[in-house]
Amino acid sequence: MGKSEDKKTAGFPVTNVFANIGNTFVSGDWKTKVSFLIMGFGQLMRGQIVKGIAFLAMEAGFIWYLVSFGARYLSKITTLGTVATQKVGRKTVYGDNSFLILLFGLLTLFVILFFTVIWYLNICENRKEEELLAAGKKLPTNKKVLASLFDSNFDKTLLALPVLGVFVFTVLPIAFMVCVAFTNYDKNHQAPTNLFTWVGFENFRNIFTFGSSGFGSTFFRVLAWTLVWAFFATFIDYFLGMGVAILINKKGIKFKKLWRTILVLTIAVPQFVSLLYVMKMFANDGLINGYLLKWGWINSPIQFWVNPMLARITIIIVNIWIGIPYMMLIATGLLMNIPEDLYESARIDGANGWQMFKSITLPYMLFVTGPFLLTQFTANLNNFNVIYLLTQGQPQSMSLVEKAGSTDLLITWLYKMTVNNTNYRMAAVIGIMVFIVTAVTSLVVYNMLPSVKDEEGFQ
């Protein structure tokens, strides 16, 4: 036919798909036409037993799933259930479970989408077979079809399980939570005892509502601290780590390996051990205050974790302790890549150490590590462990809603809302906000990166 090749270049892919379906139906033989209804029919008739059975089994599975399970959830997804759980005498009569309706309703939608794709593939497969036969060629044997799963179709074998895993444990839950952001699912509407339902954009309005009941002021304060934290945590560690790497790499410094090993200890030791210990070290009755008091340097303990401003600074400083070694490792490898003759000629021109750093080392490092800086920044936006192990977001502040503390990042706040306050609706909104912040930063910064703008820059 060859028409499909021409079609691919013209028009939208979507119209292309529909044109393909239509053409196949019109020009296909009766086996193909039956396959529109009974998937795999054409393949079976043409002796493609393996493919035919696979398609047929999928259709059977799909119908069985819809009838026995999916349909009853999908039909209620617009209301998320109307029959409330009631107490009749001493017995509890369970009504609709909004949680299940939403989750399995979504699942059913995904299954339908997936099935449609399979159905389309089934049609394409029929068309391909017809074309092959029309051209007088033989269809691949069943054995070959199976063997191709380990050769030309090996990607499908390799990816099937990982993609399924990501779907069930990431895509479905995320889709579910995105939907929760548009419902009133919170501690007063807990499934299965109570129903929850769609509320539109109410939760999003709430997050931009300022005043005593709204989340607005709290959200923006937490967001501001999240950005400030990510900025300092990324760049302080970056430059200090580079500095330490340069220091260790310097000619004439001995025991290079020893210094590195000492620094790397903070990566090796599990953070919950090291950070919890450091947290206690800075506590009011901890070691540092203990010694400072004993030596008479201070009269009362420094409120490291109590004073909001001090707590923030302490967190950033403690983070240096675990952040520098990581950067040092990366910088060490990269510094060795800078051609020695660049420095050589700079030295001949009479440049001093600082000038060489400023005009050779730094530009090179910034160029090469641009993407890394970006990933570090987004990782720090979501750096749960450091914040939670050190302060759990404390000190708490009366002016913030939902028990947010002065050192809470959006992510720790989200965690608290989910676990302690079961305010799922707002947690979901915060989660979406975190996504937006991450996505926007990544997009904007990524396009500004020198290594993206000018790939040849340093080659």
Partner: protein
Amino acid sequence: MIGNAISYLVLILISIIWLFPFFGLIMQSFRSYDPAVEYGGMVDYLIPKTFSLDNYRFLFSGETNFLLWYKNTIIIAVFVALFQTIIVLCVSYALSRMRFAGRTFLMRFWLILGMFPGFLTMICLYFLLKQFGLTQAGAVPGLILVSVASSGMGYYVCKGYFDTIPKALDEAAMIDGASRARVFLTMIIPMSKPIIIYTALVAFMAPWCDYVFASYVAFGHDSSFNVAVAMTRWVWTNDYQGYFTRFCAGGILVAIPVTILFMCLQKYYVEGVTGGAVKG
């Protein structure tokens, strides 16, 4: 020479700062918690007045489930490392070597998925696990399942490594009649020792710090806690004031094997991290 002297001074100072908390941790772990000897909670001095092994004895005595927690963590770590490595290798090979419909879509889609905060999905995951009986008493396999299931999305470093292996090698083998699967199993995997070790090492170390999800899944079920969940309680809950030295001793026991393992495989870690950082 003065320059070098200053450098040494700075390095020694840094080393002291870096080592001090670990030194403190070790010292406190040897302080007794027996009130007759010394106080087990927070004190304002570093060197214990009497050295004792009380804390270690306590951990092994069976008064708490410490050994069980330890076992749980090791089981989780080993299985997660094993399965996660397999999955990452499969995904990386497919994405690095094969060109199929939807490849770029898949990569973009996963990239965007990765921008959602992980904890967002916590309640949903909890529910899913509960359906399979993998919470509370079954938390250990549950945690393994969750960590492994989504690990396909973390293919970046490994794919970057595969991309550096010349494709001509694959092609030559395939001309000789080897199938894709054969190329993957007998050629690429043996050549990827550094990246396999890196992937496994990172996967192995993560469960030791997994507090958030582990505490949520194992909620209230003491015998399926991992070390992080169990021992954080000793520090955070006020009832456990006197447990601070016991936490230190437990922390040492947790840190030693992990640290030794890391130090032995440090070379591969550096390789992986540097490679990943440059390619982004």
